[in-house]
Symmetry: C2
Subunit: 205 residues, 2 copies
Amino acid sequence: MSLRYALLALLTAEPLTGYDAAKRFSGSVGHVWHAPDSQIYPELRRMEQAGLIDGKQVPWGPRSTKKQYSITDLGIEAFREWMCTPIEYTPARNVHHLQAAYFEWTDTEHARAHLQNHIDYYAAQLAQWKIIHRSILDRTNPTMVKRTEKYPAEQHEHIVAFKAFAYEGMISLAQTEIDWAQKGLSLLDRIASSDVFYTTEPTGQ
Amino acid sequence: MSLRYALLALLTAEPLTGYDAAKRFSGSVGHVWHAPDSQIYPELRRMEQAGLIDGKQVPWGPRSTKKQYSITDLGIEAFREWMCTPIEYTPARNVHHLQAAYFEWTDTEHARAHLQNHIDYYAAQLAQWKIIHRSILDRTNPTMVKRTEKYPAEQHEHIVAFKAFAYEGMISLAQTEIDWAQKGLSLLDRIASSDVFYTTEPTGQ
DNA sequence: ATATCCATGTAATGCGTTACATGATTTG
DNA sequence: CAAATCATGTAACGCATTACATGGATAT
């Protein structure tokens, strides 16, 4: 159900085609919320049926059209209501931490590679998020501009502050993952330099 | 596919019934990896069919039996192989951060409640994880005892270190979430004390 | 005896991923 | 005119959640 509200959130800024939405969810915003087009198009159709959004055929090129969705009053109300309801916390399922817990089942080199991979992945995320964070704060982010245009100038600061705040959360999580993996690399160093390691098999049932 | 390896991981320590596994995944270990029984029983059957585990009917009470699964050599090999392969990173989809990004669509009190909820949730997680982390380090954790029994004493330290390391990751993530939400509360305080806020509606299309 | 574990499932539904498909428009 | 981009889907599959179901064993 969250994809629906992620879409409504996007549509509070400006009307979009399915393609536009899909592009956002796999571009820069996709680092925060990802969804494939095969999920987006049907969901938009369901949302239109539910009256949350309004799809208009607009001309595209000389002969063709595309369907552009705008949020309706009902959609705005639904989004606002969702914004007031607490979201359930889904049970933890962190597969990378699970794997790290069993590093005695692989060798130091593979374990090191996993952790390095972890660092690389989150370093890339971090870089992306920092760029977006900056573009939000200095008001060069195009979607933010579109969004703030609808509000009186006094409120821009808050709107910007909330978006920045959300990204700051992602940034600190990514940094935490990197720090953790780096501690893991140190742990592996300490272990590898000790004599006993990886006779590989347990001694018996 | 990860549930399969989470189950294999558990079974490297000791044989389990479906019920045992389900209990672990909703008890203390459930704060790291959760799965409902309706998923566990069929998966165990599939794993048995694949030869990764071996189910034996063992007596339970005077008249009844239960099925206890042990990991097979093939299962150990599969687990070891999985431990050597890098795990894909699934695209980010953090619904709480998404909601926080749009706090201008609700009022200060609801926003505050969301953040307080966030703090409470992760504080509870943190408390759980710290307890497990401690029980791993001081070797009172029963599953850890079962697990280390199979290995020579020289390796116990590493096995313990990896488990502790994994929990440390969860602990710092939970702490990061708490810190973030607390910053959010401060932000809301600053905003609430300023004059302009929540005339609620955008000025116009 | 009665409540609480222990034990094991089925069924419906929804969300998400991957793969398969197609065609128009714009840009170089 | 070829390539990249814009545009929109369908289909199959798997994983996860929720609800529905049942019954034996143990402890008080």
